[in-house]
């Protein structure tokens, strides 16, 4: 393609817009790399470079419109799928939230049992002195005045081999308060201790064979309490093991825990960490009979629910559309506005309203009591619960279908109807052979989208009746649970809390199922299109 050379304003506009884009892209790439995922940051950076190339070189013009679509697909589709896949091969979930580094730091440094207090340990009241004039303090800028239980005092700092006694000639003290605590040591001034949390965290004053560590902050007395402690665990990066120094037990890294021993007597160090553990979660989805057995019944109901919803909403939407499309109907605008209301009201608001309306002492049941003499509880009986779910979803979904159909009806050329009338077709035949096929051609793909959406309509089920009523007390599945809400119950109501790895593993199976169904649906619409060519 031969391009005309750009005018100056056009070139300027392009450069400015590209500059703005680059600023945003760099900002995103940096934040994502730092805070979320380096991989995602790199992807964004690569995409930004390609965009710059494409928009600056005229010979790549054809790619201009494809690149954004490609980038969207990678960021919104491929990346989440890849991420889910990785999570499915991991143990990520409760007990395995931290990274390995954080877990090791917790075990060896931060937990109550990371250190032990030896028999001959000494406790000190510890006062903090900061070198005058320091603004960004590091641990090296501090001196510590330690008072032991006998009232004997020491001075120490980071890197000093052993605390020095108070009377060491190198120290000159400032004025002392009632407890004998000096206001300064040489050029170090006494400071309130509460402002240096992170700086002093993990402070380690050498006092062989132990370490003096801060264990408590006493706000009123403006001091810390510190103790001579000995580390309990040692991490070896080389062997990737943690050794219990007291017992000599060596804990090895196994599936997100440091463990010692085997079988029932196995001991493990808490907290665990997130790690790739292979096929465990995926195997569990397939082999666990408590998951497999309800799976099929949930699957069947999911299909019934999704197809039922598409069919009923489309049918009702189409009927209203045909009525509204009729030329003789007065007050069309009012009807159309009224009918769109369910679509305009926020989804969760409608669903929770229905939940209240249909409950046993809700207003609809007052009516039922008048009519039948007894209340009806649509939440208790499996069949009525299913009907209720479908009806509520019909209420929520038909306006959308009506809007689509209205649009599509306008686009059917009226000469087709005229031609068919000349051929002697009646209304039913017109609808069957002209309206419906042409309508389906236009909105068929949207029906598939609606199917896929309802297949995963977790919010409706969860808000309306939590998937109830229960099938049995030995499964988490309820009669109206769809695959996604069932997955949610499995993954988040497990024996140890939330299990994201497991959720991702089931998510992959659901993805495969929906993917397959969608594929066949598209085959079907293509056939429809071929039919329409012959109309």
């Amino acid at each position: 393609m031969k391009l005309s050379p750009l005018s100056l304003p056009a070139l300027l506009t392009r450069v400015v817009l590209l500059g703005i884009f680059d600023v945003v892209a760099i900002w995103m790439a940096v934040t994502f790399t730092q805070r979320i995922s380096p991989l995602l940051g790199i992807l964004i950076a690569v995409f930004a470079i390609i965009v710059n190339l494409v928009f600056l070189r005229d010979d790549l013009f054809a790619w201009r419109w494809i690149i954004p679509a490609m980038a969207g697909m990678v960021l919104l589709v491929i990346y989440p799928i890849g991420y889910s896949l990785i999570v499915a091969f991991s143990n990520y979930g409760d007990d395995h939230i931290l990274t390995k580094e954080q877990s090791v730091a917790q075990i060896t440094q931060n937990r109550a049992d990371s250190f032990y207090e030896p028999q001959d340990s000494v406790t000190y009241f510890t006062y903090v002195y900061l070198r005058s004039g320091v603004t960004q303090a590091t641990q090296e800028d501090f001196r510590f005045y330690l008072v032991d239980p006998n009232g004997k005092s020491f001075v120490s700092w980071v890197g000093l081999e052993n605390p020095l006694t108070e009377d060491d000639p190198q120290f000159q003290y400032g004025e002392r308060d009632a407890n004998g605590v000096p206001a300064s040591i040489n050029e170090w001034k006494l400071v309130p201790p509460q402002g240096f949390g992170q700086t002093l965290q993990g402070l380690n004053l050498s006092a062989p064979p132990y370490q003096i560590r801060l264990t408590q902050l006493q706000l009123l007395q403006r001091r810390f309490v510190s103790k001579q402690l000995a580390p309990r665990f040692a991490y070896s990066a080389e062997n990737d093991t943690i050794t219990d120094i007291q017992t000599g037990e060596e804990y090895r890294n196994e599936k997100g825990y440091f463990v010692f021993g085997d079988g029932d007597t196995q001991k493990r160090l808490s907290p665990g960490f997130a790690a790739l553990i292979g096929m465990d979660k995926i195997v569990r989805v397939i082999t666990d009979e408590r998951i497999r057995d309800p799976f099929f019944r949930v699957f069947i109901w999911t299909i019934v629910f999704a197809t039922g919803t598409v069919f009923t909403t489309f049918a009702l939407g189409l009927i209203f559309a045909l009525v509204l499309n009729a030329k003789f109907l007065p007050g069309k605008v009012i009807f159309r506005t009224l009918l769109i209301i369910p679509y305009a009201v926020p989804f969760w608001l409608s669903v929770t309203s229905w939940r209240g309306l249909l409950s046993v002492n809700g207003p609809l049941n007052d009516l039922m009591v008048q009519l039948l003499g007894r209340p009806v509880n649509p939440f208790a009986d499996p069949t009525s619960a299913k009907v209720m779910v479908l009806l509520v979803n019909l209420y929520l979904g038909f306006p959308y279908m009506m809007l689509l159909s209205l649009g599509a009806l306008q686009s059917i050329p009226s000469d087709m109807y005229e031609a068919s009338m000349i051929d002697g077709a009646n209304d039913r035949q017109q609808f069957q052979f002209i309206t419906l096929p042409l309508l389906l051609l236009a909105i068929g793909p949207l029906l598939i989208a609606s199917f896929a959406f309802n297949f995963n309509n977790f919010v409706l089920i969860e808000l309306l009746n939590n998937g109830g009523p229960p099938i049995a007390s030995d499964t988490v599945a309820g009669h109206t649970d769809i695959l996604l809400s069932y997955t949610y119950r499995l993954a988040f109501g497990g024996g140890r809390g939330a299990d994201y790895g497991f959720a991702a593993a089931i998510g992959i199976f659901i993805f495969l199922i929906v993917g397959t169904i969608t594929f066949f649906n598209f085959r079907f619409t293509r056939q429809l299109e071929e039919v329409s060519k012959n109309v």
């Binding site: 979320i36 965290q201 408590r290 007390s473």
Partner: protein, 414 residues
Amino acid sequence: MKKFFRFSLLLAIVAMLAGTVAPAFAQDPTATPFEPVPSEEGVLTIWINLERVAVIEEIGKEFEAKYGVPVRIQTMGFGDVRNNFNIAAPAGEGPDIIIGAHDWIGQLYSNGLLAPIELSDELKAKFDPVSLDGFTYEGKLVGLPYQTEAVAVYYNKDLMPDGVPATWAETVDLAKKLVADGKAEAGLGLNPDYYHNHALFTGFGGGVFGRDEVGAYDPKNVLLDSEGSIAAAAELDRLVKEGVLKDGLGYDQLRDLFKSGKLAMWITGPWALLDIRTTDIKFGVAPIPMMAQTPKPFVGVQGFMVNALSKNLLLAQAFLTEFIATDENMVKIIKAQPGIPAYTPIIDEVADADIQGFAASVANGEPMPAIPEMSAVWNSVGSAITLIIQQKEAPDKVMTDAAKAIRDEIAKSN
């Protein structure tokens, strides 16, 4: 072109699909509009649910005035504090302190996110032992309690001038009589979930988990199909058959019935108190009547927890033990919203008759298990109770099934 159109359509649909699936699994904190205020050196950051925000802010201001450390409060929904903390803390974006319920500690401590809190023996003696028991995990205290709660019986004084009878059997008879005489639409309200029913289960000698030698809940010892638990399930079944308990009455329905004077007795917790007080109903609060054994309702404990990855670890601990755990501030916290204080020296100053009624129930109770295994319990036993209420299956069968499923689930996830 057609091919490209079809491709982009497919893309749109797949993206939509991914968009619907992804939020359920979404893990990164940026996927939600929530922007955490993280821990920062020299500033105490507290995450709190929407209750009691004003009083904590006030206490924070006093702390700043006294010690020069600003206290920053971020509010969010109750469950959100836990979920956001569980995600944000490992990423280094957690606060220094969170305020929440003791049953979070199993999950959060196992995840390595909570730091232990040390109390002097003198201070320990000032707290209700059940509240410290609740916040103790693997032998360590990991929260500073301020309030306890447990279910008790709200009763309508117009319908029951003599109060709640001493025994369960008499209470059930009275409930039936009030309905038979046409005075009440329903005699006794009990939510169909295990939380509200635990008192009944323990009253008949059952329960959920046994205790080990040091008194901690033992997830390997599931009691839900024990003789006592099955007897309790049979009692529920009897109550349904005799028309005392009805299907379809959840928390909202029972509350509406009680507020309109149509329900004589309602077993639930102090969270309903303010709402009921908005009506003219004359009511009282009494502990749950005596069954075969003393019924022990689940005690929930509210408290402060310290982020193990906090940048002000020792300061946060000192804030709690030196500043919050004082008569003055504990009174402020409880007065901001009526509740049962976990800090006992102030009880006479803050408790009215209703609160005393709940306090009596707490005194009988036991802490709700905080072990993570509890998450396997709610669903299955909730289903079991619902199936009994709906008269779909026999009480002994649902309990045996539920216990078996819970044992399986616990064995698999360990």
